[in-house]
Symmetry: C2
Subunit: 424 residues, 2 copies
Amino acid sequence: MTAYPNMTREERGAEYTRVRQEFELWKAKGLKLNMARGKPGKQQLDLVSDIFSLMQDPQDYVSDGIDVRNYGELSGLPAAKRLFAEILGCRPWQVFVGGNASLQLMYDTISKGYTHGLLHSPRPWCREENIKWLCPAPGYDRHFKVTESFGFELITIPMTDEGPDMDAVEEAVKDSAVKGIWCVPKYSNPDGIIYSDKVIRRMAALKPAAPDFTIMWDNAYCIHEFEGDYVKFPDILALCEQAGNPDMVFEFASTSKVTLPGGGISCFACSEANMAYMEKLLSIQVISFDKVNQQRHVLYLKDKAHTLELMKKHAAIMGPKFRCVVDALDREIAPLEIASWQRPKGGYFVSLNAMPGTAKRTLALCKEAGVTMTDAGATFPYGKDPQDSNIRIAPSLPPVEELEQAIAVLCTCLKLSALEALGV
Amino acid sequence: MTAYPNMTREERGAEYTRVRQEFELWKAKGLKLNMARGKPGKQQLDLVSDIFSLMQDPQDYVSDGIDVRNYGELSGLPAAKRLFAEILGCRPWQVFVGGNASLQLMYDTISKGYTHGLLHSPRPWCREENIKWLCPAPGYDRHFKVTESFGFELITIPMTDEGPDMDAVEEAVKDSAVKGIWCVPKYSNPDGIIYSDKVIRRMAALKPAAPDFTIMWDNAYCIHEFEGDYVKFPDILALCEQAGNPDMVFEFASTSKVTLPGGGISCFACSEANMAYMEKLLSIQVISFDKVNQQRHVLYLKDKAHTLELMKKHAAIMGPKFRCVVDALDREIAPLEIASWQRPKGGYFVSLNAMPGTAKRTLALCKEAGVTMTDAGATFPYGKDPQDSNIRIAPSLPPVEELEQAIAVLCTCLKLSALEALGV
């Protein structure tokens, strides 16, 4: 097959007629497929069903002498802190264990900055003239929306193959209105990139003008390899400390994609001084998060090694789905030279860059054919991709047989929109 | 026994010597007793142990067609909404089901007012010159601290036998800086008063100057009778609606003292317009609260009638503890005319008014003898009881045999501090 850009207009016209027919056939099927969100599939949920048979014995209600059923222990069960600390490579006393949603802990950290200020804030952020926030893009739409909802100005930082463009970050933090940055450092959402050691060290060593500049280090996919073995990852808290920036980072993680999205546990990790400051504020807000569920997770996951065994089972389900997506793209799209994509080994997404100006059109066509995808632009601040190019594919939810159809539809739509853009 | 105020100085001197000896004997025992917080006792926690044996069958993971284990359903499971709606007497679509802590939902409501404004706010509260908040006192210290932490000016509203002094409330809300009021309408914390119908109707019919004035209706003890049958209680949402104030109230409740304080579920209930507004803000913050635990509670509590049966079992444990406290006060303190107290039939506290100027001293003596109580003043804004009189007794945690000792210590300390104040 000739690459589309190298075709003559007539060749493209013929191809368009052919692909249009393909598209109409898909439409006629009346599909209802969803690759919109990084939602685990039913098979993955069923993996952990035995979590519900725990907590049967009275001794299970007690952890380190604490009755997990009663009030108390604001920052979480010590055993749950130890579990997260081992997984993240930090120290147990740096961990605050929350409820089922790390997003809520992230939102709350930003909200606390806004209402009360963070540890080194000269004043609450609501008293600042304006606040700017660095958004490596493509990135996670929910992150961007949190900072947008507080009225911060979102600054796009380009992503490179090793993580955020650190030249751009180092330049941007010279502005004291820049108060923080969003990061998904391992298997970044959506690119699936692992930040390089160099990027991470430069991040930890930043010398921002704002004394309360905060790295929101969302380690959402810290143990979420679906291909190959667990990849070791540096402890950002230690690196920041070594660089003289102990209070510059909050790290986040959860078991949403380890046990259950609708009933997991989450955490943030930070320096001792940040912890003391945040606990003081959080003690006004909550007596404790759900310690029963924390204990259930401690009993179920046991430790990092045992958790990694469970992640291998997730990988056995996720791996084929990602291969299905990438194989289809390799086969159908690569020869046409109309898009490029990452080949992640972990995380929940395949990030595809279509021909500039065709992402929206592609996804509108997908919708027409019954395939729901993340909105075009969602991976950029304000939902606006300046290139109208990036498409986030989330292959986790549909079973493989549905996924094969969904990705075939996407390929058809990529072809159609490229042909339209190139002219037929 | 002659009342202390009617004794001669010599009689009081002799009594002081006797009571002081009693006190020294208590001190010598090296007690470590706690009546500080409304924490359920172990017997109550053990009541609900069979909640852990639920969720064993795959069909339990699905509720109204929703897989409770996965992401989604921001406002909670429909079945959990129905359960809370039946208990509160409101409608299911008025209910948002949260995590284990209603305090967190309350904090978040205030925080949203501060960061974004509530539905009818002319601007976010952080943009207002100053915000005032009505605090019926004695009241719940954690409520007061939430509004204090946002820098609001706390206005004390006297409590009467029927609830907050509505003349004072009606007068106060003429000030447009007054943005809301805290209420615990049934078995108020700490007085154990049920707001009268008249008070509730006047509350619902308020015509505040602030368009975004908000009643924070914390129905924490809505089904928490420990003596006698369940007492019906009006639906504040319907009353506000009838009075033309549909958006003026947020109601809160939880199962913290129904199932487990460390692992229950909570809710807020509000008008349709408030719900739409809050969901829009909350969708930025959280994908959903723990739906697995919501489902566990739906399966366990079933409906209001079945929940009330469980509450009878709590009552069988709580009733004797409250009788132990009130009987001791009747026997030891009533004849001395140095204090008065409420005789609640539900809730978690006995509110005692000691001789003005003696509450702090009484509790310092208690501490000396190994009995921890809620700090004096805690039931008033800023932790300052202008009379230094109110003492909140929380009898739920200690077993009866410990409670008998704790209350005996309290009686001794009340006597000592009264004698000191009267002069010996």
